[in-house]
């Protein structure tokens, strides 16, 4: 097992280096710069601004200087928000995005898992079709449509829940979590249905039933652990996706998360912010993939066996 973990960690280092390098040079290729604005900037001002951000050095010098700062954990000053460091912006936005992602994942797991399991118990009947069609709609419905619809119904017509904000008034976390989670709920429903169907046809389930166990015990105790394996493998990438993909939901609900900073940074050519958040999110994604692999290995005895453990 440790062998497996160590191997994966070592794999992550070159991946991150490539991410940093590619991002660093890609953002520079994009036309336009951080100080372009609708009003022309006089050359002296432009030069002063560039010097303050080391843009007057050669690209290679900037790159090595950036790697040096990065090794000390310093992501540099933001271009768009003078006086704020990228570290500070990430520290302000990430906890919000992580909390939103976590709730969204709970929503996705609960709705998706329940729909998938219910569907798998009576395949190809109404009990299968209804939840799975709902799941299909969930995949197809983009959050920029679902979000405003939920707001319209629960926020404006029924006046039950706040239409925006995060932690400002009671209940304002509910709609964003549902909006963000529902797309993933659909994936999880399909994955858990497939996983459960496969497991329910296995010999050991027949054995369990033959022992005379009640159906709910067969499903919950024996089938579930194996049946949800594909879901667990999906959790890491899903959480990473929730973190980096929450921009739309954050914008609709005015949530002060990292996603908004990240996407705006690209529009603003805020070089350090683009790089900083990319490196940060890439690290997280690598980490979550690793965690979900470890979890999957723990849940799947066959995989564990591969790495010489029992």
């Amino acid at each position: 097992m440790w062998h497996f973990v160590g191997y994966r960690v070592l794999q992550a280092i070159p991946v991150l280096l490539v991410v940093i390098t590619v991002t660093f040079f890609l953002v520079r290729i994009a036309p336009g710069g951080p100080f372009d604005s609708e009003k022309a900037v006089i050359p002296e001002v432009q030069a002063a601004l560039e010097a303050q951000y080391r843009l007057n050095l050669t690209l290679w010098q900037q790159y090595t200087a950036y790697l040096g700062d990065l090794s000390r954990g310093d992501l540099g000053p933001s271009f768009k928000y003078p006086g704020r460091s990228v570290n500070e912006l990430i520290a302000a936005g990430f906890p919000v995005t992580a909390e939103l992602g976590f709730y969204a994942l709970l929503v996705a797991l609960f709705i998706g898992g329940a729909a998938g399991i219910i569907a798998s118990l009576r395949p190809n009947t109404a009990q299968d079709y209804v939840p799975m069609s709902a799941a299909m709609i969930g995949i197809c419905m983009p959050s920029f449509l679902l979000g405003p619809m939920l707001i319209l119904v629960f926020g404006i017509y029924l006046d039950w829940l706040p239409v925006s904000g995060w932690g400002d008034s009671p209940g304002d976390k509910i709609l964003p979590s549902i909006t963000l989670g529902s797309a993933y709920a659909a994936y999880i429903a399909r994955l858990s249905r497939a996983g459960m169907l496969e497991v329910l046809s296995q010999d050991y389930i027949r054995t369990a039933r033959a022992k005379g166990l009640p159906e709910w015990q067969v499903v919950l105790k024996h089938a579930l652990r194996g049946g949800l394996l594909p879901v667990v493998a999906f959790l890491g990438p899903a959480f990473a996706g929730l973190l980096s993909g929450s921009f739309v939901v954050e914008t609709i609900f005015q949530i002060p998360g990292l996603g908004r900073f990240y996407v705006q940074a690209a529009f603003n050519r805020d070089y350090t912010m683009i790089l900083g958040s990319t490196v940060f999110l890439a690290t997280l994604i690598v980490l979550f993939n690793l965690l979900s692999d470890i979890l999957a290995a723990w849940m799947n005895p066959r995989l564990r066996a591969q790495y010489g453990e029992r």
């Binding site: 336009g32 006086g83 936005g93 509910i174 002060p256």
Partner: protein, 545 residues
């Protein structure tokens, strides 16, 4: 199994409705009672340093925390006393003496002095500061030379503190709008000891504007700043005119999604929105006692012609394109009647100035001009590309004009959608044939628009260059002795400009806001200027619904 799912759903619904009961009264109702204004402010401010920030959202907050020598009356836009009690302009218009109010204080209690201004303007003009608005002070003697590094000694710049409360400014040429500029953040004074506590004067990165550090001189002081969430200011108890300040505080919200902003307004989270979604305008127009506020704004939406590139190097082609556009129809359909058709670069009625009307919507004349230029009924037309930055409304306007040109002149224009920074780069490099553009005046004076098209001007971007035009604006207008004479010179220059047609004016901007009926003292005006000192909330306002 099934039962437990049902149980859970039931609990979920029950807890949802419980939450709903506890949500209580809205921001607006609470705010009216406590004197707190909830202000939709567009975007998260870049920062709060008056010599660093450039945007409109920033100017609202900075304007609450700081005050200039003179401020604008929101009803008349005339300058009225700010930190300066009064000011004298010498007979030749070249020397302005500001007399500072001895009661003016910084928020930490320090008195405000003329030396504060000398130091602050040196900071604002220092090349190392990288202040993108430094040009606001260029009418001061030698200020431009200092800002561009040609002059190192600030003592040679025309700003002097005669004593603690007298500031003398010498100008290059008479500049009638100079007093107006005293209300712009780049001319504000900043608190020297606070800034120097955190670094050198010109360091853009210090934390001096954070809640715990900032010292201002405005009617409000900063009490809370949560990134992308809210900025809260409270009435200042050191402000010289605090008796007149009626609000107890303001909450600024970064509302960059205008649909979300409109929803926040609808449920009573905001008193005021920065804008209104285009498709909601007819809905709000139709309402009785509508909160919708629409007023002319000091800005023009136009297309740039690159006069160096064929076929636009021919003035007849430029005129044909301009005359073939039915601006009234565009405004009434695509823009829901929310703007004002424009036939000149200067918005009509800027402090009494009426721009000349050089051309009209005239398809016959347009066809004739195009034929004279060698493209009768579009024959032999080499094609033309229009660049615009990504936005639904720019796209809609471009498509409408494309169709009008096709119908009227039988010519094809292709549309090139560009991401914002790419578009800025194209415009700056003049790497386009025709490009969308908007310009908002810095001050209420025709000069703010007309000086764009001086030879080689940084924002000219058309290749237009006419010595007579430059002569009128740079030599004659400053020497004019009366407003009438000055405006006559501007009219001559603008006529010249519109005959050469390096730009295609489309519409005059309007400001669009939703404003709660309980808000007083926020009238619409040409600059869309808000002076929070004048704002009050009706305590007795009750929701009619």
């Amino acid at each position: 199994m099934r039962l437990s799912v049902l149980h859970f759903l039931w609990i979920l619904i029950a807890s949802l409705s419980l939450l709903a009961c506890s949500s209580g009264e809205s921001n607006v109702v609470q705010g009216n009672r406590d004197g707190i204004l909830h202000f939709g402010n567009g975007t998260e401010p870049q920062g709060l340093d008056p010599h660093v920030v450039t945007g409109i959202p920033e100017s609202h907050i900075v304007g609450a925390l700081f005050e200039g020598l003179a401020v604008k009356n929101p009803y008349t836009l005339e300058s009225e006393p700010g930190v300066a009690q009064r000011w004298d302009v010498s007979a030749d218009g070249l020397t302005i003496t500001f007399h500072l109010n001895p009661a003016a204080r910084w928020s930490n209690g320090d008195p405000m002095t003329a030396q504060d201004y000398v130091w602050s303007w040196q900071r604002a003009l220092s090349p190392a500061m990288g202040n993108q608005n430094a040009y606001m002070l260029y009418s001061i003697e030698n200020a431009e030379a200092f800002a561009t590094g040609k002059l190192d000694d600030f003592n040679a710049v025309g700003v002097k503190a005669l004593d603690d409360h007298t500031l003398q400014v010498r100008l290059n040429t008479p500049t009638p709008y100079f007093i107006q500029l005293m209300d712009h953040q780049s001319t504000f004074a900043v608190h020297r000891p606070t800034i120097e506590k955190f670094g050198v004067a010109t360091d853009r990165f210090t934390p001096w504007t954070r809640v715990e550090n900032i010292v201002g001189n405005g009617a409000f002081r900063l009490t809370d700043w949560q990134l992308n969430r809210r900025i809260v200011v409270q009435k200042s108890d050191t402000y010289w005119d605090r008796e007149r300040v009626q609000l107890n505080g303001i909450v600024f919200y970064p509302t960059e999604n205008i649909s979300s902003e409109e929803r926040m307004f609808r449920v009573g989270q905001l008193h005021y929105t920065q804008s209104v979604p285009l498709d909601k305008i007819p809905v709000y127009r139709a309402m009785q006692n509508s909160p919708y506020m629409n007023a002319p704004y000091l800005g023009t939406y136009f297309y740039l012609f690159n006069t160096n590139k064929p076929p636009l190097d021919d003035v007849r082609v430029r005129q044909a394109l301009a005359m073939a556009v039915d601006r009234e129809r565009l405004n009434n359909t695509v823009l829901h009647g929310s703007n004002i058709p424009a036939y000149s670069i200067t918005p009509p009625g800027t402090l009494g100035y009426q721009p000349p009307r050089v051309f009209d919507y005239d398809v016959q004349r347009a066809r004739q001009l195009l034929a004279e230029a060698g493209y009768p009924d579009g024959a032999g037309w080499p094609g033309l590309e229009l660049a615009y930055n990504t936005s639904e409304s720019h796209l809609k306007i471009a498509v409408a004009l494309q169709q009008m040109w096709k119908d009227a002149l039988n010519i094809d224009v292709t549309l090139a959608n560009q991401e914002w920074k790419v578009y800025l780069d194209s415009v700056d490099q003049m790497n386009f044939q025709m490009a969308r553009r908007g310009w908002i005046g810095d001050y209420v004076d025709p000069n703010s628009f007309l000086d764009l098209f001086l030879c080689g001007g940084g924002n000219n971007n058309t290749g237009f260059c006419d010595p007579r035009y430059d002569e009128l604006l740079k030599r004659q207008a400053p020497r004019a002795t009366s407003r009438e004479e000055r405006y006559a010179i501007f009219r001559e220059a603008e006529t010249l400009l519109m005959e050469q047609m390096p730009i295609l004016p489309i519409y005059t901007y309007t400001s669009n806001h939703l404003i709660h009926p309980g808000v007083q003292g926020m009238p619409s005006n040409l600059m869309d200027a808000v002076n929070f000192k004048h704002v009050a909330l009706d305590k007795n306002w009750k929701a009619a619904e």
